[in-house]
Amino acid sequence: MNELMIMLFAPLVAGFIAWALDIRGIREIVGILGAAVPLGILAKYYSTIAGSNPETVTHTITIGGFKLLFQLNTITWYFAAVASLVGVAMAFGMASTSRSSYEWLFALMSYTGVLGVFLSQDFVGFFLFWELMTFASFMMVLKRNRHESLKYFVLSVIGAYAMLIAIGILYAKTGALDFGAIRQALYMDAMLGSMSKGLTALVFLLFLTAFGVKAGAVPLHVWAPGAYSKVDQSYTTFFSGALSKAGAYGFLLIYILMGAKLYYALGVWHGHLVFGYIIAWLGAITVVVAGFLAVLQEDIRKLFAYSSISQVGYILLGLGIGTSLGFVGALFHVLSHAVFKGLFWLVVAALILRTGKTKFEDFGGLAEKMPITFAMALIAVLSLAGIPPMAGFASKWLLYEAAISAHMPLVAGAIFLGSGLAFAYVVRFLYAVWFGQRPSDLEDVKEAPLPLLIGMAILAIPNLVFGIAPGLVVKFIDDIMYSLFQIHIPVGGDYFKLVTPTGTYNALLVTVILTLGLAIAGLIFIYGAKARKVPVTDTYQSGNPVTEDYNLSMRRNFYRPLAEALDFWLKYSWDRFYERLAGMFEDFADSLREGFYNGNVQSYAWYLAVVLLILALWGVL
Amino acid sequence: MEEASRASKFAYTFIVLFILWLVVTASLDSQELITGAVIALIVAALTHDVFTKAGLANLHPKRVAYAIAYIPYFLWAMIMANLDVAYRVLHPARPIRPGIVKCKTVLNSDTGKLSLANSITLTPGTITLDVDEDNYFIHWIWVPDEVLNAKDDSEHVEKASEAITRPFEKYLRVIFG
């Protein structure tokens, strides 16, 4: 059997075995092995697809009369590798946090789904695995929460069906389902214009909906906070780290398949591709809105859920800029978000596993109790907040550069604002959870179990490696860009240094300086600082009286003033909007049902008569 | 009149049915005759008990002769009845004086009673409304004076029977007993 297929289905098969056997221990080993297989095979094929003379690995299967084409090339390898990395970390995490074979089955099934989405070179496979991935992740959510899973489900189904229609239209217009042929046909059609502007715009809109849902773009994000927080947190690593990237990948696919067509059909506005501009704004809004919401959360899971949404927004934003620099930033951020947010979720998983708490107000001073976890958390925090020399900084820096050089100041502002917000919430996380006074019930908290720590390590290392040597990634992205669009990216430098038309970032230098600084700080902390006991309610609002109902601390309602300031906006919730819409819809469905199937057979006979009448009129006139 | 034997009933039924078969097919083709005989046998076997009580006794020559004689007699009565009807229907004044009268019959057999009832129904302005034992209740379109002015019930019955049932009974008594 072809290795691509082994890679694709190893997780699923492992999941089935784990589920069917359902034996503690074996389940975990099988699961981890299944999750590791793809990573191994991808590693094996690295030399084939990368380098100066890249080749692709292709496999075709025929199923249900469709020819499914799978291919490993630079771009698919890249996305698959990111997913596998996170997948392996998830498996390790689950070995510690999950006690359910059900979860193993569907977690690994969604893994297969994500890989399938990335490897597919035709829309049937793409759609099939997209659905598989959605279904499996839905099953994960369903287990814990009905309401959130329903939201996720409905939006996912809407997204999937939007995609299906778009696929159908493309199929109708090009007669093809494989990416190569569609790309070719649409490229030709870009000038011929046999596919109308309106239809092109429709397809774009449908894809936007489909991929926007998965990426959690505002306003299609409403499922994400609940879904991310209401599953096993080890799985969220994968959910937010890898699954959401399928959405981002979809946006990339829009460029690959119909970039030219969209350009010709929708044109250019102030020097920017209109369709790209829309994506960029979608990203920017997502970054800011989700950033604000993240800041306001009291539950760490919710916080990181919104944070995830916000961060995926960056990727959309980068893709939307539409320049090669934008692509570089976006693709880099795919990797860095996966590793730092994945890491975050594993840390959260460890916290929940060991404390059973999720609210900020219940945490405190855990750095001492869980030092390794704390170290991991620190890496994640730094990376997410965009502090060098972490991977997160490199990608954000590139995105910022891209926005500036594309003359999109507002978008750049969004990046900036987003980073500020990110800083705001991670600081709170850092302080409220790890430092300060430890609530008495957390005295017995132990360090995270080993598998979970291994999972963290798997994700922590890339944060550092690709942070210090961003050139590794950028070089690969250059290969991708060349293979996709036959262009080289305008980013120079070496493994440690990035040079863009507007700026230079020397990661190694920064690392050295920072390491020195940290060493000094550490020495001071160890030898100079003395822990100071403060009451838990120590407020940061000097002079304001602390009351029960206006009780702000780092751990509770820390950003409540911000929330009050934003009240004019927060009271309009998309969530409520959708719920009201759904309610109206159900009422409508009820009245339709009661009205049409009213139980009176004479009415039914009238329906028949009316159909006859229509037939008659149509025949007579 | 006592009931006839099974064989007699069966034979009688068979004969009647076979004759009816001949009438219905109106054919003397041997194939028809054979089939008719077979079917008549089967149907007679199934229904002779319902069909007759007297069996072959019904075929006594006297009875048959009376039956044959009864036909023109009855037809004549019937035609007269219809002329009477024509008169009443066509007459502008619609001369009717209806009522329900009671008669008694001397007939014993059910078949006889049926024939009498049918005969009454088909003749002058009378319809058999009900038969209860030997009482006949008859709707009469023109109740004549002598019946209407009868002193008591028995005179009423006597007069009515005189007018309605007697003429038929003399034949039917012989035919059906």
Binding site: T62, I63, G64, G65, V124, F127, L128, F129, E131, L132, F135, L142, K143, R146, S149, L150, F153, V154, V157, I158, Y161, L164, I165, I167, G168, I169, Y171, A172, E586, F588, A589, D590, L592, R593, F596, Y597, V601, S603, Y604, A605, Y607, L608, V610, V611, L612, I614, L615, W618, G619 | -
Partner: protein, 495 residues
């Protein structure tokens, strides 16, 4: 074996049904066993026919009485019919097993006869090559269905049955007017010959005739708004019968509609008929899904779901393309499997727990895990999730629909599918994540069937190739009218 022996497909259920009065005295169980045996033999014959047709690639033409068409009536057991006759037999066989648990109302002997004749009716409708014979078999199916709908003898059952009769009666009357017109114009009742002559007849006659025939069949095929009888009948009928309604009775109507439709494709206004059917089919899907949304009775909910799926099949058939017809056939098979599974599961729950209200499904995962699992798989398949069979056929239908240019129809159908996803979601959630209850022992034979159907659903979902190629052949059997005409050995009467 001589192909004429395929007439056993008709002869056996008839003999089987007529024999029942003679064994009436043997008791309930004996009669149910007897039905099981007859349906098993029927399945065997159908399997033989299927094997014969698919291995030789030639249809079996059963010539009744030895009179060559169009003088006599012929059965046309081509790719489609041989496939579907097998499905009819198989579904009947499975439901004959279900009868043991689900049917307790007297008189069982009458039920047994009607059960076998329902199978017969659908078989005949699918197999026949003569349009009036189609009417006869349609009426056999319909009248059996009326009787079976009312079989439980509750007020609701009688109500549902009467509604069915009135609407079905109107439908069949107009169908017959259509047949009369077509006969008046062509002088023949043989479908192949009608197809041959269809292009040459008076256009008005052809138009009115075709419209009336399609109208009549659309009532049986449950197209909106002619389907108002269906949810009531599905709800009120005994559970195995409901499964049969959904699995093959409505399919027979659909098939007949498609068959007549394509036979008459040379009629001038054919495309208008298609367009009207597309509208009706799409509305069928939409209204049915909406109606299922807040349904408290799960059997009725599944009934609406079934109607919507049927609408999807009708949509596929109304596209007028090979791709559409193939997809429609594919969906027909998949839907039959899934709906047998669902109605079996739901019916069994209703039998065990005393009703099909949603309350009885809470905690079902703990109480009747295998049944619950079966229902869940059925529900997921119905929604069209990958690795389950309907995913493939639904995908095919949507692609075919958009390919023809009915993007709006695909839009509406998929929007309705979102609704479908929601109510099935609620059901699954109620089953697994709500309520409590003690474990109830589940019938082993029934669970074997459930598992078999689940395996089928997933097997086709994972490996659809075989069934797809079969569906393609069966689809071309309907679509390729020229081939159909060629296959029927018409003697040269009038032509």
């Amino acid at each position: 074996m001589n192909g004429q022996y395929a007439s056993l497909l008709i002869a056996l259920p008839l003999l089987g049904a007529f024999f029942v009065p003679l064994i009436k005295g043997l008791g309930k169980k004996a009669i149910k066993t007897y039905v099981l045996i007859i349906t098993a033999i029927q399945t065997g014959i159908a399997a033989w026919v299927f094997q014969e047709v698919y291995s030789t690639g030639k249809p079996i033409i059963v010539i009744a009485g030895g009179w060559k068409p169009p003088v006599g009536i012929n059965l046309y057991l081509g790719y489609f019919a041989s496939l579907f006759v097998l499905i009819v037999a198989l579904a009947s066989f499975l439901m004959a097993v279900f009868n043991f648990k689900a049917i307790d109302v007297e008189p069982i002997d009458k039920y047994a006869m009607l059960f076998l004749l329902l199978m017969l009716g659908a078989t005949g409708m699918i197999a026949t090559g003569d349009i009036f014979n189609l009417f006869v078999f349609m009426e056999i199916t319909a009248i059996t269905a009326y009787a079976l709908t009312a079989y439980n003898k509750t007020g609701e059952a009688a109500e549902a049955s009467l509604k069915y009769m009135i609407l079905g009666g109107i439908g069949s009357s107009f169908f017959l007017i259509g047949v009369a017109l077509i006969y008046g114009a062509t002088g023949t009742l043989n479908m192949a010959q009608i197809a041959q002559l269809a292009g040459h007849i008076n256009p008005t006659v052809a138009q009115v005739g075709l419209a009336l025939i399609i109208f009549g069949l659309a009532v049986e095929a449950e197209l909106f708004p002619l389907n108002a009888w269906a949810p009531d009948a599905y709800q009120a009928a005994p559970h195995p019968v409901t499964a049969m309604f959904s699995a093959f009775v409505v399919k027979a109507g659909l098939y007949a509609m498609a068959r007549v439709l394509y036979l008459m494709s040379s009629v001038g206004t054919w495309h208008n008929v298609l367009r009207l059917l597309v509208v009706m089919a799409t509305l069928t899907v939409v209204v049915a899904e909406f109606s299922a949304l807040r349904q408290r009775n799960v059997k009725r909910m599944i009934a609406y779901s079934s109607i919507s799926q049927v609408g999807l099949i009708a949509l596929a058939f109304a596209l007028g393309t090979q791709a559409g017809v193939d997809a429609g056939v594919f969906q027909m098979v998949n839907h039959a499997i899934v709906k047998v599974l669902l109605f079996l599961g739901v019916g069994y729950v209703a039998v065990q727990l005393g009703g099909a209200e949603i309350e009885n499904f809470r905690g079902l995962g703990r109480r009747m895990p295998v049944t619950a699992f079966g229902i869940t798989v059925g529900a997921m398949a119905a929604v069209g999730i990958p690795l389950f069979n309907i995913f493939w056929s639904k995908l095919r239908i949507i692609l075919a629909t958009i390919e023809v240019g009915y993007t709006w129809a695909a839009f509406l159908v998929l929007a309705a599918s979102v609704v479908e996803a929601v109510y099935y979601f609620r059901l699954i959630h109620a089953i697994w994540f709500e309520g409590e209850g003690e474990r109830i022992s589940e019938s082993v034979p029934l669970m074997a069937i459930v598992v078999l159907l689940v395996v089928l659903v997933i097997a086709i979902g994972v490996y659809p190739n075989y069934l797809w190629s079969v569906s393609q052949k069966a689809g071309s059997d309907i679509f390729n009218v020229a081939q159909y005409i060629k296959n029927v050995p018409l003697m040269g009467v009038g032509a």
